[in-house]
């Protein structure tokens, strides 16, 4: 007998585990917004599940690129002028 498969939602044993389908998970979002910070509770290499991006894989950014990005974030209202000044001073050092 022909069986046309029906689409079903996924769920976890203890409830509906969030599905991030192509979007950042909370851990990935944290890593992207804290590029220079150490990953929280990062396990040693080869341990369970977590993929650690090697330092060499991160694209190098010039101070000019960083300043342009900061200016764009300020103009778009993502950061305040005070935050812009603070971040700019860190870039200069």
């Amino acid at each position: 007998m022909l069986l046309v498969p029906r689409q079903l939602r996924r769920a976890g044993l203890t409830g509906d585990v969030p599905y991030y389908g192509g979007r950042f998970t909370p851990a990935q979002a944290y890593a992207a917004s804290h590029p220079s910070a150490s990953a929280p509770a990062a396990p040693p290499s080869g341990s369970l599940g977590r993929t650690v991006v090697p330092e060499a894989a991160k694209p190098a950014r010039s101070p000019e690129d960083t300043l342009r990005t900061l200016e764009r974030l300020r103009e778009d209202g993502v950061i305040t002028p005070e935050e812009y000044d603070d971040l700019r001073s860190r870039t200069a050092t």
Partner: protein
């Protein structure tokens, strides 16, 4: 039915569901751990469509597969049984067509985990929100076994 239900899809070279697996599920049911709700056998034809398979006599109950077929598919080809789409996958949905490769046969078991209902209720009562559930890969399970041995008292 009160516990969470797992859909277990197992591929076989031949269209049969191992008697050994059924025996183990029967033992777990007797122990109040799981409840085998139904078993459906399907085959994925070369053109991609799925066909239900009548299991050989004696391997499964005569009416086996009806419940799973009604849940997982639309036997009459109605619109609700549309094939997998990118949009559906983006929303975390799945279908048997995603699981069963073309040219293979699979047994699809609906297994109610009766032991898990109290745990699920406890999570809900405590206000907890499930964030992730997964199974350890074999190598990580072996590593865990080693860690347990290292930390064993005495």
């Amino acid at each position: 039915m009160t516990g969470p239900v797992q859909v277990l899809v197992v591929g076989f070279e031949q269209p049969h569901f191992s008697g050994e697996v059924l025996a183990e599920l029967t033992r777990l049911r007797a122990a109040g751990i799981v409840n085998l709700l139904d078993v459906l056998v399907v085959t994925r034809e070369a053109d991609g469509h799925l066909e239900t398979v009548t299991p050989p006599p004696g391997e499964l109950p005569e009416d086996s597969g009806r419940l799973a077929a009604a849940l997982l598919g639309a036997a009459d080809g109605s619109a609700d049984g549309a094939a997998s789409t990118a949009s559906a996958k983006e929303h975390g949905q799945w279908s048997l067509a995603d699981a069963v490769p073309i040219g293979t046969t699979a047994a699809v078991a609906l297994i109610e985990h009766t032991w898990a209902e109290p745990l699920r209720a406890a999570v809900a009562r405590s206000g907890g929100a499930p964030l992730e559930e997964t199974w350890l890969a074999r190598e990580d399970s072996e590593r865990l076994q080693s860690l347990l041995a290292d930390h064993a008292p005495g």
